[in-house]
Amino acid sequence: MGDISPFQFQVVAALIFMVGVVGVLTRRNVIVMFMCIELMLNAANLSLVAFSREVGDDQGQIFAFMVMVVAAVEVAVGLAIIISLVRNRDTLNIEDASQMKW
């Protein structure tokens, strides 16, 4: 593995995760927010796979695999929600979908 330490993989994962967090917090476009959620999931996956390699046990990969399954389902349902959002409100801006309040 050259001179790369396990720690560095975790740093990369953490950084990607943070970028995802910032994206979810700051972007208004629902689709982009959704992509940022995918980023966070992927960051978690990288962390899992890296830990898995570090421990030398492939259970972490199975975990990552399951995360992908969930992500796939999430995307299917989420995009369907976005489609119906656009159909009903004609917008992709998250702030236009704020009727659920006091």
Binding site: A14, M35, R53
Partner: protein, 166 residues
């Protein structure tokens, strides 16, 4: 070789993710940046000897999920309707960044303590056969549940996206 690959892939992944967030002009650009991140991550997986996960990453994320994003973006044809990040309340922005920084600090602090070097792994580590055997023996329930979840997801997507006929 591996070191160089690691740096190239890591930088690509990070750049891609920043591109996803920072590209305020057009969601398609965000999606393309997302593809870059996904592919780079797949490379990192292969670097970690998790070939199967890496390939699945390409197939599922790059090949299906992001294509689906693109498909929806094109279907809705809302070119350039993404709103700029500057519209966010400054309070949220500042507080969010602060929280991220703090938690990252703690996270990294924890992670930086007592790292063991890479262990040697079995040649079968991460191969399709090893993962498949684990999935269909120890984790067979998880696989079944995942199947049910996928079915539920399909149904939900169909019901949600279908045009109401009434």
């Amino acid at each position: 070789m591996r070191t160089a690959l690691f740096w190239i892939l890591s930088v690509a992944a990070l750049a891609g993710s920043i591109g996803v967030v920072g590209n305020v002009r057009n969601p398609i650009n965000s999606a393309l940046n997302l593809v870059v991140t996904m592919l780079a991550l797949a490379g990192l997986y292969v670097l970690l000897e998790a070939q199967f996960v890496g390939l699945i990453q390409v197939m599922v994320y790059a090949g299906a999920i992001v294509v689906l994003f693109l498909f929806v973006i094109m279907l809705l044809n809302l070119r350039g309707s993404g709103t700029a990040g500057a519209e966010v309340q400054p309070l949220v922005k500042i507080a969010g960044t602060a929280v991220v920084a703090i938690s990252a600090f703690f996270l990294l602090r924890v992670l930086s303590t007592g790292r063991a070097p890479w262990p040697d792994v079995d040649p079968s580590y991460g191969t399709t056969r090893a993962i498949g055997e684990a999935l269909y023996t120890d984790y067979v329930l998880a696989v079944q549940v995942a199947g049910v979840l996928l079915l539920a997801g399909i149904l939900a997507a169909v019901v949600l996206a279908k045009k109401r006929l009434d």
